[in-house]
Every structure is written in C-alpha cells, then in structure tokens.
Symmetry: C2
Subunit: 351 residues, 2 copies
C-alpha cells in the first residue's frame, strides 16, 4: 500500500485517448493492490504551444519534478513539421523535458507476440524469436550539441559531442540489463568514421571486463540497419548513442508486427518517463480507434520503475490475455475491431 504522484502529459494527436486507457488500468491496479495514485495533468507539445506559446511550460516541468513518475502520451503535429523556420516546435518540449529531468537512458524492448507474428512485414521464420531491447542515450550527442547558422544563413552546423561519463552511465545500465537477459550486448556505432564513436568503443571495451558474463559485440550502424532485418534474433541488448538510437529503435519496432504494442521507458535521475513509441498519429486522433496497448504496457514499465514489479506483471498478463482472446483494436484485426476505450475497459477489468 503506497501513495504515488503521477504526472500525466497526454500531449497531441491520439495521446489523450490512449493515456486515458492507461489510467483506467492504473486505477484498477490501485484498487486491487490498495495503492493510491494521484494524477496531475499538464500540457506538453503542440497543445501546450497553442495554449501558452511554449511546448514545455514551466508549470509542466514543475509538475513532473514533483512527481514519482511521468506518464506520457505523444507529441507532434503536422502543421509544425514542414515549417523549418518555425520558432517553436512541439518536439522542443520533449527534448527539453528529457534534458531537464536527466532522462539519459531510453529503453525500448521489442518483443514478438506469437499471435501477431502474421502482421510482421518480415517472413515469419525471420522474425520468430526476436526479443531485444535498445538502450539509447537520450540527453547527449548531436541532439543537444551546439547548432546554428553562419551570418548569411547559407551554412548550418550541428555538433555531436560525448564525454566518458555520459557513455559510462548508460553503458552500466545496458550491461546490467544484459546480465538479466541473454547476456549479450551489441554496441552500435560508426567507429570507422566518427571520433565520438571511437570514444564509445573505448569506454565500452574498458567496462566489458567488469561484466565477464556478458558477450560484447561491436557493430557499425549501417551494418546494424541490415542485420536487424536479416537476422533480428541475434540481438539481445543493443546499446547506442542518441541519433543512431532514434533510427535503429524505430527500425526495430516495425520488425515483429507489434508496433502498436511497444512501450518505452526513459530513466536517469529521480523521475522516469513512460510512453508508447508510436507517436501522435494525428490522422487517427479523436476516433477512438487507436491501439492503447503500447500505452498500457508503458504503464506497466512505470509500475516497474516505481518498484511495483508484481503490479507491472499483472498488467502485462492482462495484455497477453486480451491479445490471445483477440480483444484488440482494428490495427490488429479489422474484423474483431474493438474501440480504443473498449480495450481499455477490458484490460482494467482483467487486472
């Protein structure tokens, strides 16, 4: 029996709909296990720009800092995507949040659901057995390096920088994850070209001897982009820097046909943030057709993150059951097609 404060940042597009289902499930957990969850909603992304002019209002950051965990929906709106000169963009809110909360490790498990394997773009024999997790560095690299233009505006630059300390702290988490999994870690980098990648390799090689039970592989990012498609089950834990992690984790997410089911956790300092990886998908917003399972599984990672492992497992069991009963949204089965809210109700009931 515990009391926890959860910041709820539903964001844009389908964010609010799927987050609402996650909260139903968290409420069910609270009831069954006798916890109290206090939710505080706050604005982020395009909705925050529309309301306040700022994609991450000061107040939102305060709410997050005062919470035990942040439950996040999605951000992004097409009206901002094609205007490279827009002064404020929804994504800035997300990036500022990551940086302000010190969320240096983005963790994205990619699992194969046997019942959904037919949805995979890959041949079944290629994808069967794929079970990996990407540890992506989230507060460094080219995302947060100095960037700008020359005076005339016809030259642009983005600097990518990494320090030993930034690499060590996420590598430690990745090595520990590997120890608790199949004991394999693959560092994805471009050490044949980039100095930052050579530093990553140096640091990871230096740490490897402290984890003698973990087999360490080094793979160039271009090769990794191929190997993920050709032989995804060779991977266990993938460790990589921010920009490569963005690409590789999204690529990995479509392999198993379970895109609508993939959660993520961003951790580092005190407060972790939990969100589905599917994004704001504006085309589907407001129609009650979005798949809430990735968000519900993110709620399960949130529960793990605040030390409630039994509760997290209860949520995962509920999701597995709903899938095996084909109680799913239209993206998974056009015929059976339940509404987003119906799936949320059912998962809460199962818990």
């Amino acid at each position: 029996m515990a009391t926890k404060n959860i910041a709820v940042l539903a964001g844009d597009g389908i964010g609010p709909e799927v987050v609402a289902q996650g909260i139903k499930v968290l409420d069910a957990v609270a009831e069954v296990f006798g916890h109290t969850f206090n939710y505080t909603e706050a604005l982020v992304g395009a909705v925050a720009i529309d309301a306040t002019g700022n994609p991450l209002p000061e107040e939102t950051l305060e709410v997050c800092k005062a919470s035990d965990a942040v439950f996040f929906g999605a951000i992004g709106h097409p009206k901002y995507d094609n205007d490279p000169n827009a002064k404020v963009r929804p994504e800035q809110g997300l990036l500022a949040l990551r940086k302000s909360l010190g969320l240096f490790a983005n963790i994205r498990p990619v699992t194969t659901f046997e019942a959904l394997i037919h949805k995979s773009p890959l041949k079944e024999e290629k994808v069967r057995g794929a079970d990996l997790v990407v540890y992506r560095e989230l507060t460094g690299g080219i995302y947060f390096g100095e960037k700008g233009r020359n005076e005339k505006g016809d030259e642009a630059y983005d600097n990518c920088a990494y320090s030993t300390g930034e690499i060590e702290r996420i590598a430690k988490l990745a090595f520990e994850a590997a120890q608790n999994r199949r004991k394999k870690l693959t560092l994805v980098d471009k050490a044949n070209v980039l100095e930052t990648s050579r530093l990553w390799r140096e640091v990871v090689r230096g740490m490897a001897s402290s984890y003698p039970d973990v087999e360490v592989d080094y793979m160039f990012v271009d090769n990794a982009a191929m190997q993920l498609i050709q032989w995804p089950s060779q991977f266990d834990v993938i460790l990589t820097e921010n920009m490569f992690g963005d690409i590789i984790s999204d690529e990995a997410s479509v392999l198993t046909g379970s895109m609508g089911l993939l959660p993520s956790a961003s951790i580092g300092a005190k407060v972790g943030m939990y969100e589905p990886i599917h994004g704001s998908y504006p085309q589907a917003a407001g129609q009650d057709i979005a798949n809430p399972m990735a968000t519900v599984l993110s709620a399960a990672m949130l529960l793990d993150g605040i030390g409630m492992y039994t509760e997290g497992n209860a949520v995962r069991t509920a999701v597995d059951k709903a899938i095996s009963e084909n109680y799913v949204t239209e993206d998974l089965d056009k015929e059976a097609a339940k509404k987003c809210s119906e799936v949320g109700d059912y998962l809460a009931e199962l818990v």
Copy 2:
C-alpha cells in the same frame, strides 16, 4: 570506337576476385563494340596500408585523376575495426578518395529481381514492386566535419556542417533522376532536431518549384527507417545527407534479397567511381565463391558514366539472362552454386 583509361582499385577481401570478373566483362564489351580500355591497377585500403603505410597512396590518387573512371572493389579488414586507436584505417583511404575526386553524389539503385524475390527477408507482397534509388551526399556532413578530443581525451566531438551549395548540387541530380523515373523525390532528414536538416529542407523546398513535374515528400529519418520495411514500393528517389544515407541505403539494400547484385556509382567532378555495395566480406576472400554480379553491374554503371549507354545495357541484359538461367553463385542458390570466376566467364560470353 573509343579509348578509355580505367583505374582499377580492387582493394581488400573479395575485392580482387569480383573486380577480376568485372574486367572480363569490360573486355568482352571492348571486343564487341570495338573500344579500347586501358586498365591501371592501384592500391587502396588495407592492402595499401600493408604495402605503403598509407590507405590512399599519392600514386593511387594520381592514377585515378588521370583516368576516365575508377573501378573499385571493396575495402576494410577486421584487424582494423576493433582498434579505435589505430592511426591509419583502410576506410580513410576511401574517404580521402571521395573527397579528392569530388565525388559528392553516391547513387545506389535498389531493384527487385523477380527470380530472387524469395530470398528477401520481407514477405513477397511487401517487397514486390520495390524500385528505388538513393542519392546520398558523399563529401560533406559529419563524415568530413572537424572531429577530435579534448586534452584529457575523455571528451570527443564530430561536427556536422552543410552549405546551401553542397545541398543544391546533389539535389539537382536527384530531381533530374526523379524526372526520368516515377517523378517522386523523398528528402530524408531530421528537421525536427537538426539545423543542418532544416537547411536541407529549405534548399530542397526552394528548388521544388523548378521541377513542377516532381512530387516532393519530406520524411524524418526514423520514420524512413520504418517505411522502408513496411512499404518500400512507395519510394522512387530518396535524397539524403551523408550519415543518414549510409544507414538508409544499406537498410534498403537488404530488402529485396538482391544484396549481392547491387551496384553503385559515386560521381561529382570529372571522374566517377563505380563499386559494388557489398563490402570486402573477408570471410569469403580467396575462395572463389563471392557473387560478382554487383561488381559487373557496377561496370555497367561505369559504362553509362562514360557515355556508353548501349554497352551498359548489354551488360545488364547479360546479368538478367544469367539470373533467369540460374547461372549464379552459392549465395543465390546453394544447389546450382557456380564459382565466382565461372559466373564472370559466362557473363563475358553472354555479352
């Protein structure tokens, strides 16, 4: 009837074996069409380091500059990959060559061979109809930006920079290619995060009005990494910067099951360079089992590059014929398994 000087840089691993087959085919072309090709061999990559200490000896560069085209095998050797502190690495030779010859556009067509579609890791219905070409910027961006360490060595950086002019010259080639194909151009970038990407978008948007017959799309690189797998046939011409192009073009290359068949051209200034995309594959070196078709198709692109389109088509027809007759190496058919040199002989004969 023409006389052309071709620099031959066979390089490492399977490079020499596959290049030898390409030369057989070029010789057949010379005979049939009455041309004279003068070949000058030169060292590059690990073999050049072993012989001279330099991955791109001055002499090699002179040979290339004095030629009408460079025919390239592959470079890279594992003994250099895992030593981030190695002072010289084979890849430096390739990068220096690209820069010195002004090869700012790397062109990689990805086609689907109906006879090989069963080799694709993707389901047939996903991959059928995929026919795209990646225009990758090759002499700018983070590959060639300032890079280094702080004094203590515990901080590293790589700068990514682009100028309007660098973007315009490759965008022009990509737009023109789109006009001669299915009239669609997709710019792949990360304009929601990177200033350089915002410059790419600005420049490409500015040029789009001069190519009213070309439909222009803008796609974030993480999304592109997913879309390539989920719906590859939506792409026609992909235009992108150096680092994203490295990842995206390699990812694209494994989709159709024809990896061993994909050629590339790197062009820009006077002399173009033509090479298979498969790399040095050291495990197979010296065994006469490598697939020479990508190299032979690169020779076809070389012929196009020196204005010999009829000759280039004759080579492509020969490759199509050999494939349809299943006269292929073991990577394509374990049973039929011809040797690398046998396939080379047969292709020369077909021409």
